[in-house]
Amino acid sequence: MSQGHHGLEEFHWLIEVMQTVDVGVLVLDLEYRVTAWNGFIENNSGIDSSDAMGKSLFDVFPDLSVEWFKHKGDTVVQLRNRAFTTWEQRPFVFKFRNNRPITGVTEYMYQNCTFIPVIGTTGSVQNLAVIVYDVTDIAASKLELKAANERLAQLSRTDGLTKLFNRGYWETLFETEFMRQQRHVRDMCLIMFDIDHFKKVNDTYGHQAGDDVIRAVAEAVRSNSRATDVAGRYGGEEFAILLLDSDLDNTYALAERLRASIANTVVKTEAGDLQVTVSLGVAPWSASFAHHGQWIEAADQALYHSKQAGRNQTSVAST
C-alpha cells in the first residue's frame, strides 16, 4: 500500500468516525460562518448540511443568543484559550428537541459545550470549533434532586396549617433584614397581631373550628399584603408581618385594612359560622434597637396596648 493511499484511507475513517460520533462537532470561521459540522448536528437540527455550509451560524440557528455566543467565541479566539459552558448556565446553546418519546423528560436537549480555538498552519487562530454534548440525563436527574430538596426545605420553612412561614424561619428572615438595616437604612415596619379571645373559640367550638379560624386569618394576611412582605405564624394565634420599604403611614393603613377585613370575614366551620377580631401592634424600625428582639418587643407592647384599650384595633409603638 502506498503512502498516499494509506493517508487517504486514514482520512476516510477519520471522517467516518467524526460523522458518527455521538457528540456534536461544529467548525466555524472567524466570521461565524459554518465551515463544517458532523452528523450529530445535522440529525439533531434537522438541517441539511448543504443548506448550512458557508452561511452565518446565526442565520442557520435563529434561536441562538448572538451576543452570548459571540462573547464566548471572541474571548476564545482572542485569548487562544478554550472555554467550557455548562447546561446550568443555559440549558441549551442549540435548540435541539429532545426526541426520545419514552425516556425523554425534557422538551429540549440539555447541553454542555466546549469552544476550542483552532490554530492554523500559520500559527494564528483560524477557526472556532464547538463541541456539543448531550447531558439531558444528567441535567434531568440533577434538577429532579434539586426540586426534591427544595420541597424539603419548603416543608421545613412553612407552617403546615397556615402555609405562612413558621416561627423559626420567619425569625431567620427577620434577623437578616434587621442586620441589613444596620448597613443600609430603609423604611421598615413590623406588625404583630393576635386573634381576640381565641381560647374561647377553641373551648366553645372545638380545635377543628379553631384551626379553621386560624386558616381564615392567614388567608386574610395573604390577600392584604404585598409579595415583599414577610408574614409568619409567630405562635398559636399570633402572627407577625415584616414590611420592607413601607413607612409608618402605609403600614398603619395596611394593619387597619387587615383588621377590618378579618372582622368582616365569616368563617364557615363545622360548628357553624364564626366571626373573630384581631388586635394589632405596629412598630417602625428605630436606630435605637440594638437587637432585633427589641423591635419585636416594641410591636408586642403596642399589641398589648390594643388589647387593653378594648381589642379589635391597631396601636403604634411609642418611640
Partner: protein, 212 residues
C-alpha cells in the same frame, strides 16, 4: 519564606522534598503568570500575582489550602478534571461571592446581578484561569492535558459545605494553591490544582531533567 509562615506548617514528608516543592512552585509561578496576563486582558485590570503555595496535604487538611477565601461568608465553586501523560487531577476554582459586584462592573455588566449572571462570570473566570494555568504547567514539563467538562459544585455555599460535600476516596494530594486578587478591586478567588498521589511520581520524573 512566606508560604511556610502563612501555613504555619512545613512539610517534612520525604515524598515532597524542598527541592521538588520549590521546583513545582516556580513552574506554577510561570503558569499563573500566563493566566494572570489573560485575565488582565479580559478585565482590563491589573492582576496581583499570587505566590503559589505547594503542599502535600491530607484530605482533612484541605481547608488550609484555601487561605484567601477562608473568611468568605459564602462562595461559589467550579471544578474541572484534567488528565494526560499519566498525570491526573482536578482544578477547583473557589470564588468569594462578595467579588461579584466588582466583577460585574469590570465586565461592564449593567443591571441586577442574578445568580445566572454570577454563573456566567464564574465560568468565564474559570475557563481562563484553569485553562491557562494547566496549559502553562503542561508546556513546561512537555506534556498536554485534556480537560473534562467543568462541574458546578455550588453557588452561595460556605467553605465547609463545599469540602464536606465532596467526599472522595483519596488520602493525600499534591496541592497548588493560587490565590488571585485584582488590584484596587474587592475580587478574590482561589484556584486550587490538586494532583493525585500517583501523579506525583510521574511529575517527579518529568521535572527531574530540570533539576539536574
Amino acid at each position: 519564606m512566606a508560604f511556610t509562615q502563612a501555613k504555619g506548617r512545613i512539610l517534612t514528608d520525604e515524598v515532597l522534598d524542598e527541592e521538588l516543592r520549590d521546583c513545582f512552585q516556580e513552574l506554577s509561578n510561570v503558569a499563573v503568570g500566563r493566566a494572570a496576563d489573560l485575565l488582565a486582558r479580559l478585565l482590563n485590570n491589573f492582576v496581583i500575582m499570587p505566590i503559589p503555595v505547594v503542599n502535600l496535604l491530607e484530605r482533612s487538611e484541605l481547608s488550609m489550602a484555601l487561605s484567601s477565601v477562608q473568611d468568605a461568608q459564602s462562595v461559589s465553586a467550579v471544578c474541572q478534571g484534567f488528565t494526560g501523560s499519566k498525570i491526573a487531577g482536578e482544578a477547583l476554582l473557589i470564588f468569594n461571592d462578595a467579588s461579584f459586584t466588582d466583577m460585574a462592573e469590570l465586565t461592564h455588566f449593567k443591571g441586577e446581578i442574578t445568580e445566572q449572571i454570577e454563573l456566567e462570570l464564574l465560568m468565564d473566570i474559570a475557563n481562563i484561569l484553569i485553562g491557562a494555568c494547566l496549559k502553562g504547567l503542561a508546556e513546561q514539563i512537555d506534556v498536554s492535558f485534556s480537560q473534562g467538562q467543568p462541574y458546578l459544585l455550588g453557588q452561595h455555599i460556605n467553605i465547609d459545605e463545599l469540602l464536606n460535600k465532596n467526599g472522595a476516596s483519596w488520602k493525600r494530594l499534591l496541592t497548588i494553591e493560587l490565590p488571585y486578587r485584582l488590584e484596587g478591586r474587592a475580587v478574590n478567588c482561589d484556584l486550587l490544582l490538586l494532583f493525585t498521589e500517583d501523579s506525583l511520581n510521574v511529575l517527579r520524573d518529568k521535572v527531574s531533567y530540570l533539576l539536574e
